[in-house]
């Protein structure tokens, strides 16, 4: 998919096309794999919090309030790969 194709999808509020691209991106061109990767990251995040370990919420809130939305969106993609890496199941060919 192209940037223009996705911009059109944004303009038309075509979320199905946008999430399809996210899945393709995270699944290395395989939409089903990408869907699984997204689930895998969320499962890993949940597992890390189930026992309610101490977390640096001040850092989280300061980051959310002090950084621009694009940086936070970029961080979101980084966090996806961080959590996928933690899961121990790496589907990608290379390394981050």
């Amino acid at each position: 998919m192209s940037i223009d194709y996705l911009r059109t999808a944004v303009a038309e509020n075509d979320s199905a096309t946008l999430i399809r691209y996210v899945r393709l991106h995270l699944g290395d061109g395989n939409e089903a794999a990408g869907r699984k990767e997204i689930d895998k990251a969320w499962v890993e995040a949940l597992k890390l919090l189930l026992d309610m370990p101490s977390t640096d919420r001040t850092f989280v809130l300061e980051t959310l309030s002090s950084r621009d939305a694009a940086t936070l969106a970029h961080l979101f993609f980084h966090l996806h790969f961080y959590l996928v890496t933690r899961s121990g199941e790496w589907i990608h060919d290379g390394r981050l």
Partner: protein, 166 residues
């Protein structure tokens, strides 16, 4: 159009249409063509540089941004005197297992040094260049990375460029 344009041929003119059929909106409609520049003197007298989309970079330099959904429009200078041990790959869009065993299969830094030493090529530029090719914005890629890279290659004094897609 120039004479060179009219006499040159795209190697796989139907490729992008095929990609677009399989992945709607895949964009890559490349109707123009930049002809290859002819070599102006013997290779044994020519200073060569190497440009790769393999995501190879000096260890401990800022990793290429492989998570960004659009791509990474930066490049890295890789000293041509590097050894494979000095370098690492940050890239998740192609299999790197072979390159992990011998980087020369994707970034032939040893082989090019050997060719320079035995006089097959006239010499190497102080730096080679590397980037990651994944992007969904080829026009932006061309405007930013490609332009900056072309300037850097020219500034390096390269007389010929070995381009190697990953």
């Amino acid at each position: 159009m120039t004479d060179a344009f009219e006499t040159a041929k795209q190697l796989r003119p139907g490729l992008w249409e095929t990609v677009n059929e399989r992945y709607p909106g895949s964009m890559i409609t490349k109707v123009d063509l930049v002809p290859l520049a002819p070599l102006r003197k013997p290779l044994s007298q020519t200073r060569l540089t190497f440009v790769s989309s393999a995501g190879v970079q000096p260890r401990d330099s800022l990793p290429f941004d492989v998570v960004h959904p659009v791509g990474d429009f930066t490049f890295r200078r890789v000293p041509s005197s590097s050894t494979p041990a000095d370098l690492e790959i940050h890239q998740i869009k192609y299999p790197t297992a072979g390159a992990a065993r011998d980087l020369n299969v994707i970034f032939p830094v040893d082989r090019l040094s050997e060719l320079a030493e035995d006089g097959t090529i006239g010499g190497l530029t102080p730096n080679f260049f590397s980037f990651i090719g994944y992007t969904i914005d080829p026009a932006g890629f061309e405007r930013t990375l490609a332009e900056a890279l072309a300037d850097a290659v020219a500034a390096e004094g390269a007389e010929a460029v070995l381009l190697c897609p990953a």
